[in-house]
Symmetry: C5
Subunit: 292 residues, 5 copies
């Protein structure tokens, strides 16, 4: 995620979008400009059509424009909701790790360094494992091993974050059986462990479920049909002004879809993606401050 000043209009109006948006946007607009120039030339200079010969289809574009506009907003809302839900889940991760750390710290006596140390390593380990599991796979270098066997044990399991959570569930229940954590405290601690799994699952859900194939196709087909027929709506009325008009409208419509594509998968490392590395780092710092 890039940090920016939302009130700096100048920068926001004139800076380019992320490279990924641009690599699709420029060629598409260039094509649209070339296409509408050729079309204008053929219709206006070659066939010498006038308003009387060819009635522009602007009425159709007006009718469809409303429907298209509404669908672009549907697309934007959907993409933004996914992004914001991802953010809420990671906000929940911040909350649950803090709560869990505080509860562990309150349950265990201050001098129980062993247990405190174990949780101060394992809670961030869980968070870092979830983070990279949403990307390309857990990076062991990011984890802190509480004991020698940990990394090798973890490698045996396919779903690493599940394993780490399992170990925490287990440890808490062992403390409970050893009467270091009472039954009432167990009930309170359980809420946070449950949250860990629920938050991780919600992130996996967002990552693994694109919006339905047919809607994705529909919006793209619709934009394509709309801008490819757009010159016919202006050519005999506005002449060569059609070219910049088509360019502008294409820019506005294609941008929405391309931005939505980028926003809706929020766990990568793009400028629009959520700052997962920062959040995981912040969680680690918080947990250590609370427990140690």
């Amino acid at each position: 995620m890039v940090m920016y000043n939302p009130k700096n209009w100048f920068a926001l109006v004139f800076h380019a979008y992320s490279r990924r948006v641009m690599t699709t946007l420029w060629p598409a607009i260039a094509f649209m400009l070339a296409y509408s120039t050729v079309l204008c030339y053929i219709m206006l200079d070659y066939f010498k059509l006038h308003l009387a010969d060819f009635q522009p289809t602007i009425a159709m574009h007006s009718l469809l424009g409303i429907v298209l506009g509404l669908f672009l907003v549907f697309r934007t809302n959907t993409a933004y909701d996914r992004w914001w839900e991802g953010r809420r889940m990671w906000g929940g991760m911040v909350n649950s790790t803090r709560n869990f750390a505080m509860k562990v710290a309150a349950c265990l006596p201050t001098e129980n360094h062993e247990e405190r140390d174990w949780f101060a390593k394992m809670i961030p380990n869980f968070v870092f494992a979830v983070k990279e599991n949403l990307r390309n796979g857990v990076q062991f270098a990011e984890l802190e091993a509480p004991d020698d066997k940990f990394i090798n044990d973890l490698k045996r399991f396919k779903h690493k974050p599940n394993r780490i959570a399992s170990l925490m569930y287990k440890r808490i229940n062992e403390l409970y059986r050893a009467n270091k954590v009472s039954g009432d405290q167990l009930i309170n601690l359980d809420k946070e462990l449950k949250d860990f799994i629920d938050l991780m699952g919600a992130c996996e859900r967002i990552k693994n479920t694109p919006i339905p194939y047919s809607y994705m196709m529909y919006v793209k087909k619709f934009i394509f049909i709309y801008i490819i027929t757009l010159p016919f709506g202006f050519v005999t009325q506005s002449g060569y002004m059609t070219v910049p008009i088509v360019g502008l409208v294409s820019f506005v419509l294609l941008s929405v879809e391309l931005i939505a594509e980028e926003i809706e998968d929020p766990f990568g490392r793009d400028i629009n993606d959520l700052p997962l590395d920062d959040l995981a780092g912040k969680i680690k710092e918080n947990v250590k401050e609370i427990l140690l």
Copy 2:
């Protein structure tokens, strides 16, 4: 569900929708093209009507176009919300089964192979039973019998997933009475069992409740009236250009409704449906990794 690359515009613009959408869409558009050609012929070449004789009704189509566009978006939102709620419920299923497996694994000693094995079979059984209960009925071949009587006992019950959940509730309470699970652990385990039933019920609700009959009728009536009167809005002004215009507008409007029809019932085996088989398989794998 089909896997696709949301950034591959070329494929998405030119590929056809699912077969089910197409079998209704093509005939409808073919009819609209034929109908508007005939109408153009009659009005322009037979009766030789001009703008002065017949004022196009485009103003009416503009007025109604806004209302129609808004209703199509209402339709899309409703269908998408059902689809996404279905997905959230199955995401919840992933979470609750993981949580339940972890809690059982933490409560029971590692050497209690019998109980662990029983739950490692029954949790996935519940998920598979729910999945097929949303389709045509539970497939016994997908279930793993923990003992010999299980399948025969299950056949006696009308609602199979209920029975499996009942058995898990019972088993947990037996472990509790046998002091293998403490009261505090019982309270924690109960949350997940409750989630199982709630998630199953929510899926059944989506499956069994189409959107209200009158709305379904209204949207379809409205689209029909709109496109059937559309040629009158263009014919005396745009001549035979009316035919492709009506074709395009029909394509755009009918697609929305047909896609919505497909999305709103998300538990089948269509290309737009949720990947329930994959999710159930993933749950099975996860649960076994945690418990065994």
Copy 3:
């Protein structure tokens, strides 16, 4: 609720709405057609007004059309949300009754026929009482008396479902005091009883609270003003084509409001209402299968 095939376009386009919608819709449209015919006659044939004499007010109708469209969608969303919330509450009823029955079945030994039988009667009784309380009042014939005094006792209370829930709360607490249900089990059972009351209350809220009086007035006034002035927007331009145009637009706009009126009160016995009788029957069947 009527069962229908959402993909049967032919039936949905040509069938009539429910009788209740029709009894208001047809007279209104007939009036609008007559009114605009008379108006056309007076303006076109009596006063012989032309475009030069009377500029149509279509620009005003365009401006207001957007606002009206947005309000009709607000109206539709509101009505649909109420309907869907009602459905979610009854889905919750299915879930909570199943959960409660399973928990009771797991807590009590299999041979405790007396208690199981009592709950197998009282849970459905609660559901049936809630259902009819949302209509005209509890029908005693639908209830199964667990003992002789039950019906007479119930008659003494004004709010029947409250009384039934009270009896279940009491019974559970008696079992608790008799050590047949442990404290931990009591905590788990309490969640479902709480849900019963919350779900019932939510249904009562939907039933007893129409949308604010002023909004209801506003939408109806707005539709009325819009269609009554609509002929002035077309008459000098489109001549007698104004009559079918006004008819169509009236049909589209009035339908929305009339359907919304029907949807927003979802607990009756209309074709658009929720299938409460089916749901209550299904709950009864489920509960009996689980408990007996």
Copy 4:
């Protein structure tokens, strides 16, 4: 709140809004009619402007009309959401008081008249205190004193409903310490007491937080600019028809804002406000029926 039949179109179309809306609406529309008449006279009869001299600004009003329409719906949604959230909170109050009464009734033996009586008075007292706290301040006449000191004690506290809830929390904990309520029952009762405070707080939040000052200003400024410039969009085209057009559009736009003003503060005694007195009365009746 006024009771009305949502299907009585005649009454709803022709009755006037609440007096509060009317006292602002009529003068504003009268002013707009006068203002546009004067403007028409000056432009058409004094300066004798024609279409060729003054091009109407209707295109601008079209552009802005969409944005304005969308903002009016934003305004309406916001107001309605506040109203409906208020209603949900009071529905929650009905549920929580019922639940609490049932739980207390189930925990305490039937013959414990003293405690039952105390709660049968204090629960409604809490509700009545919350209700009037949202208006002008608690009315002691509405409360039932369970003992002689109650009213005087209450007067010493600034936040009366807080005090009443505190007393209930205290009483429950005293019963717990006296072993009349077990620990498990305490956990169950606690949920309802927590709900009481949460529901009260949510109502206070709605009451004390108008929508942001800038949005309120923006919508009003926008409507004002729109209708004050509207005559310029019609005058040279429609002549004196401009006057009723401006009147109608003003009526439609101003109504939205004025109704929203009235809906968004739902705890008063207007015809659009929530029936708090009825709800509080119903709660009292329910609680007494359950507990006594």
Copy 5:
């Protein structure tokens, strides 16, 4: 936050927005007025272009106007949702602190002045620390030290509110170990402490996460393109009337974006920001009244 009367139209229509909005709005509108005057002069008086020479691009502005309008509403909704979520979180803070204070008051005997006093200071301390942590950093002057070491201890920690919450968690667990708070009461108290952390985390999330960079850019680019090309849509048709039209449209469109910028970060000290100081003060007063 400024207090205002939402029904005082006169003030709301004619008062200026907050200074921050104005410092961007006026220069921008002044620029647009100058720019379109120059453009009108060049096109109308220098090149003497007429309608026949230059067809206005108003059709393009109509098409884009719908899309722009929808995006401005998306922008407004997003900003308002953030603002309202912030408000709900602080409403939750009011509720949780009241609940926690009441529970502590009910658990501890009235004569335990030491503990009551400690919590009566620490709960408001937490709230004040959260408040300033959302701004520039905790102000120690606002906190009440329950003992001499408190402030110095707090200074050692980076995240002050976390530390205060940790201390409360610890204190409650010490009371539990000392049998002054029972296990059941611990479970009830835990809910509120968990809420404290969750509410704080949600506020931090809103503060630290602006809407995605690309959307922010998109909306600003779109508005810029729209108003900078707007004069071309009117100039040959409306002549110098183009200047006020462009001014008005710019005012309406820019205002939306500027207000949204201000609303979406609701924890500052602007006239649109939430009244955090008042709320924190109210919480302090409430907590003290309950506990002391």
